[in-house]
């Protein structure tokens, strides 16, 4: 088993979140240690995306605790999470389709020119474009054209940019919500490569995926959500496809909580 119970970097305890009468999270827990890849799996509606939104500051849980380095924190905005080194590539991508890839990479982190012009708010577009091209090259994101609105790119390219954006800025944790859903075979491999490289730099990766072989290939540990609560934890090396599916569908018993 990974070090999630030894030195947890990020922990969620008994999170609850309702949207109207729908209970998306019913006491979900989650743990993550530095430098590990944890896959978060579960059937549709199990609460994976809601859990990620709570842990990345997009939504606030109705009840429960979030701890970073063992200390309780309140993540009341995406900015609060980002200030703690937590980045997210959302399932809905959350890109600005009318802006180009470089502008999207630097969304909310625009680089300004040095000196007086920068103080007046002028952007250093050349520096941002250069850095963006470097990062895309480093992460294996191939774009025919770096100057077009991101909305005119293919779904796979858009997804690659969204993944790159989260990875470039993350210093501690990166959440990838279905990062390979729209990708072809080659790009999928590249994203998984990126995941491994990011882990090697000591950043923890949470991978949400429906693709079981992918999960088993890249994850160190696997946590299973079902009906808004964690029902099982596996070490990837010991887990089998049958076990994972069993836990997801409820064929396996509930985990004894904490």
């Amino acid at each position: 088993m990974g070090g999630s119970d030894g030195s947890p970097l990020l922990q969620a305890r008994e999170l609850r979140k309702s949207y109207g009468s729908v209970q998306a999270l019913r006491g979900a827990s989650f743990g993550l240690a530095a430098g590990e890849v944890v896959a978060l799996i579960g059937d549709n509606g199990a609460g994976k995306s809601t859990l990620v939104k709570c842990l990345s500051g997009v939504e606030r849980p109705d009840a429960g605790e979030i701890l970073i380095d063992g200390a309780p924190v309140v993540l009341d905005s995406p900015t609060a999470a980002r200030a703690r080194g937590i980045e997210t590539a959302y399932q809905d991508l959350a890109v600005a389709p009318d802006l180009d890839p470089a502008a999207n990479l630097f969304l909310g982190r625009e680089v300004r020119r040095p000196g007086l012009l920068g103080a007046l708010g002028m952007l250093d577009k050349a520096a941002m474009r250069r850095r963006a091209a470097e990062e895309f090259a480093r992460l294996g994101v191939t774009l025919q054209d770096i100057d077009v609105p991101i909305g005119s790119l293919s779904g796979g390219q858009r997804q690659s940019v969204a993944v790159a954006r989260s990875v470039v800025w993350a210093s501690r944790v990166v959440f990838l919500d279905e990062p390979t859903a729209a990708l072809g075979v080659v790009q999928r491999e590249r994203v998984l490569d990126v995941v491994r490289r990011v882990r090697d730099t000591g950043v923890a990766v949470v991978l949400i995926s429906h693709n079981m072989p992918e999960v088993l290939a890249v994850a160190d540990r696997i946590e299973v959500l079902r009906l808004g609560a964690r029902v099982a934890r596996f070490t990837a090396a010991d887990a089998t496809l049958e076990q994972l599916v069993g836990a997801m569908t409820g064929a396996l018993a509930h985990e004894e909580d904490r």
Binding site: P78, A94, V95, P97, D98, G108, G121, T142, G156, Q187
Partner: protein, 344 residues
């Protein structure tokens, strides 16, 4: 996936040449329309159309609308709208005029000095900015659709202006203001035009080179993405609407200088003219796309048509017909462009 994406290597990032980028922009085509119109009228009436006088009057008459339209460009890029600009213009003009009268002996501001005029300007900006701030707060904080908020202030600002003046136009405007700004010119450049040009250049600089401008595009393109990226979306919207209010205030002051009266009933379609100019210039009503340059073109196409029709002797009621056709075509063009882009 496509073969492009599966190409190996890391140096696939190429850039299109600037010329190609330029031709892909709808603004270029609408600018060509303007050029063609100017050439056409010049050929039809070489004695009357391509003259310094025509150019000057054309520019002066367009300058107030240009100031409104520059502000409107920002609002529409955030996927918003501001129907109140014409009424806010009137309100700001009334505030400035009554303030200047109140500061003058006997309530006649005709002979007022530069100090009073300056206070009048501040009054106009404050009056315009206040309405803009109110619009912004209602749109961003109360989350009322901008169409409704500004429809409300469209009526309320005009009503407030009429309440202040009992519906009678203020007629004593400082001569210093009329001669200095309204009719003044330096080296054949009317001061009204110079002021509008400065506003336009500052607007273009702000929109296209600064963080404020970048975030204006981001908010209009995908407000939720902007929020998750840590951009203070609501605060940004409040600032954009306040800015439009300030510009409407300035426009009100310019109008006062030019017409020498508050022209309370003369601005009921300014909002639509400004919106039409912005949209004609290639700014998308759906937000996220637009240029100040396009707006300048969009202001001058109707202006040139009006002037040209008068000079050539075409019944000038054709002007709104022609403008409407071009406007609808411009929006259709934008729709087609969006559909072909959002292919996924």
């Amino acid at each position: 996936m496509t073969d492009v994406e599966s190409r190996p290597g890391t140096s696939d990032v190429v850039r299109r040449r600037p010329v190609q980028r330029l031709l892909g922009v709808s603004t270029v085509w609408i600018a060509l329309v303007l050029v063609v119109l100017c050439v056409l009228f010049s050929v039809l009436r070489p004695d009357a159309f391509p003259t310094l006088f025509t150019l000057q009057t054309l520019l002066i008459e367009a300058s107030v609308l240009l100031v409104l339209a520059v502000g409107m460009t920002f609002v529409i890029i955030t996927a918003g709208i501001d129907l109140s600009v014409g009424s806010v213009l009137v309100f700001a003009g009334v505030i400035a005029a009554t303030l200047m009268e109140a500061l003058s002996p006997g309530g006649d501001a005709s002979a007022a000095g530069p100090g009073v005029v300056l206070l009048g300007l501040l009054g106009a900006l404050a009056g315009g900015g206040a309405w803009g701030l109110l619009n912004g707060l209602l749109v961003a904080r109360a989350r009322i659709p901008p169409l409704i908020v500004t429809l409300g202030s469209f009526g309320a600002a005009l009503g407030a202006a009429q309440l202040i003046t009992d519906g009678v136009d203020v007629r004593t405007v400082p001569r210093a203001l009329r001669d200095g700004l309204g009719f003044g010119q330096t080296a054949q450049v009317p001061h009204m035009v110079a002021l509008a040009a400065v506003v336009t250049l500052v607007g273009a600089w702000l929109l296209h080179t600064t963080r404020f401008g970048r975030r204006t595009f981001a908010v209009g393109s995908n407000a939720e993405a902007a929020r998750r990226a840590g951009i203070p979306v609501r605060g940004h919207l409040v600032r954009v609407y306040t800015g439009v209010g300030l510009l409407a205030g300035l426009a009100g002051f310019m109008s006062l200088a030019y017409f020498g009266t508050t022209t309370i009933s003369g601005h009921s379609t300014d909002n639509l003219n400004a919106i039409a100019a912005v949209v004609l210039g290639g700014t998308s009503l759906f937000g996220g796309v637009g240029t100040v340059f396009g707006t300048v073109i969009g202001v001058f196409i109707p202006a040139v048509l009006t002037k040209g029709f008068v000079i050539v002797g075409v019944q000038q009621f054709w002007q709104p017909v022609a403008i409407s056709a071009v406007l609808v075509a411009a929006v259709w063009f934008d729709q087609v462009r969006r559909r072909s882009r959002d292919r996924a």
